[in-house]
Symmetry: D2
């Protein structure tokens, strides 16, 4: 059972929602690299997007140039997301919350959620999602709550322990990549990052081999056409 699996053929997309543009140091990228390095060793293709390096306006339209934006890189980023079997969102923590860039990413993902796949299901069905979170002091779990909630609500599947991260003790202090934090040797962070990465692979592989979810009981298109499967409208008595 515990033998090596063949994950080749799987594709991942990692989206870093740091507030900083390249080439400034992103501590979140530092921890995302730990996960991406596992994927490379497992022969899994990885696409990495640092969202702040792109021009992505806020808004809910699939392409915000239709509402006056000069430029919108989102349509191409969306294609890269759709090309992947699983997506990891990375974010720093500010005041206990995920970054505004991560919030904008979720809004833009949501802006595509009217689309359906060939089976009439919401467009993200069959994809798997997780998150990587870093900060100085507090908030991994709260940021993960918001990100993982949004992903599953949009149609992604969440494997066990899909959140990992690093924070230091309460109060200001060194960040993940700072040597004095010794964060790279935090066994809890390393274990969670490893388990998250492998669980993304396992569930993505399982769903891919299964051709996603059967569309019995979950097709938006069929629901709209009146199909109800075994749902029965409850009655007032």
């Amino acid at each position: 059972m515990n033998k090596k699996q063949d994950f080749s053929g799987l594709k991942a997309v990692y989206i870093n929602c740091t507030l900083k543009k390249s080439p400034k140091t992103s501590h979140t990228e530092g921890l995302m690299n730990v996960s991406m390095n596992i994927l490379k060793s497992e022969n899994v293709a990885v696409d990495y997007i640092r969202l702040s390096d792109y021009k992505v306006p806020t808004g809910l339209l699939p392409d915000m140039t239709e509402e006056g934006a000069d430029k919108d890189d989102w349509p191409k980023i969306y294609e890269r997301i759709m090309d992947a079997d699983f997506m990891i969102i990375g974010t720093p923590i500010w005041l206990g919350e995920k970054s505004s860039v991560a919030t904008k990413l979720i809004e833009r993902l949501y802006g595509m959620s009217g689309k359906t796949n060939a089976k009439g299901q919401y467009i993200y069905y069959g994809k798997v999602g997780g998150c990587v979170i870093t900060g100085n002091e507090d908030g991994i779990k709260h940021c993960a709550m918001g990100i993982l909630y949004a992903l599953q609500h949009l149609g992604f599947s969440i494997p066990p322990q899909a959140d990992c991260g690093w924070i230091g003790e309460a109060g200001p202090g060194p960040s993940y990549l700072d040597e004095e934090s010794d964060a790279k040797n935090n066994e809890f962070t390393n274990r969670n990052t490893t388990f998250m990465t492998y669980n993304m692979l396992h569930l993505a592989k399982m769903l891919k081999e299964n051709n996603g979810y059967p569309n019995y009981g979950n097709s938006r298109e069929e629901w709209d056409d009146g199909t109800r499967w075994n749902f029965e409208n409850p009655e007032y008595r």
Copy 2:
């Protein structure tokens, strides 16, 4: 593709975290019934637990009688949970939060999380989780964030759209089962409840047929024994 699936052999457990004991009306139970009725029509075994009807002390021990509690029904409830392939937590909303009974349930689930399965993985691996939430006015998503986060962190898998619920317009007003709410005819609630139910079934079936997750890359026991798969400890440069 969209043909009827065979879900027989699957088992579900539904845990209602209303503050009220039987036989008082639980609106959350009302919406849970919509989901459970689908399962019955699909020949899936359902176990239903109204937690407030049991004696479940707060605490983190597997059995709180060891710390002085008169009685603890948790060990038996835990067995019923372990006997199921998926678990749905139902909760009412108070001040935008899940109930204290739901919070206690998550604490008790967490109290067992030192256990591992035969593959050395955390004990809830291979199980699937979701939630049903009702309230007068506000908070489905926030309650779902906390519940689904906890479940995935403990080892459950979350299928697409694993949260459903009903709330009325801002302000006090009728509840789910009150006829004047007309909540039973809320198409959004009915659709989400249906999709959640079927997605629980699909993922639970897939995981069961797969015998859960392979333990390559996610075994706590092997990690503790020094196995690292393709994780490499990052270095400071």
Copy 3:
């Protein structure tokens, strides 16, 4: 300006929502003591309640014996809360959330919220609230979000920096009172605890001297009688 203030005459109530009964060690109590010691030096009366030592059933009634509970210590605890000028809620963190005991406390506070004071305002108007949070690793801010939100929604006022706490680095580890955590020397925690404590005193004193809030524009009773002050119902155009 920065001279010593006279806070004598003020009364505080501290409610510890640890899951553990006395005499088990509560790390949260450890940090609450730091704040309470300041109050003692400032000649402020402090009432301390460890909620798990009392019999407080879940529920929304002012007295749950009316719904079948054997005993309900809440009515007396409520009196002690009403006797104080400000209230500090202490809680440990489990899976990034405040304890079920803290959630139950908020539900019981909410259960009294139909009451109004002599000015027709909600009953907690004029009181001040804050929180103290401890855990091994993560979640001070998220717990504070929920507690402070609830308090202000119920009518408490929140002074600047009303949240303080201690957590260690990501992962399991020593707790606040464990010597190896060296938490007592965390300057950030000590500073925030100090500022919180003094800001509670300043705002409580100011409100007490002001006899709470004038009831112009915020009296539930007058609103129900039709008074609207300068609110004008908006129109559809």
Copy 4:
């Protein structure tokens, strides 16, 4: 007691964090207007900022042109905020969360938090904060939790019931300004909006007359100089 108060001389700033630029309809603006109209009748000066109409880059610097941004309107917006006695943040809800624009606003406010006032306190001490939230279906309380938490943590004071909003029944539907929602006649929303507005006025007036908070026990500068008031470092025993 319940006689008209004189609020003249107070200044308010309202910041709308809709994703949409002018002149597109903002439902959140619709509800903010209800509150601002009360202020006008009370002779309170109101400054209104629709943040999406400005060029405000993401980042943590006081002026992001120092890090390569073409333009940064934040320094002028910050001056307008500092000129006001209280601030109301308005936000729409997307997937149960405040908008990315609101998150960015909080990040920019946080970017100024190293500053102190003439008393050595954090720069926002003495100011009062609240929020107005609108959405189709769910999330007022969760959005308010994050916003009010951040404001108090930064130094704002929060009066009773500082959150108000409107949402419709679960599921998609008309928005606040849509006539078919009949939201303008929602008594709960109108009452909460009124109480919030007046409580902002009362607390802002009280703090202004008091010249903010005394800096006994809460001056960052004095703490850094070694002053501890009655805080005593706890000891390990």
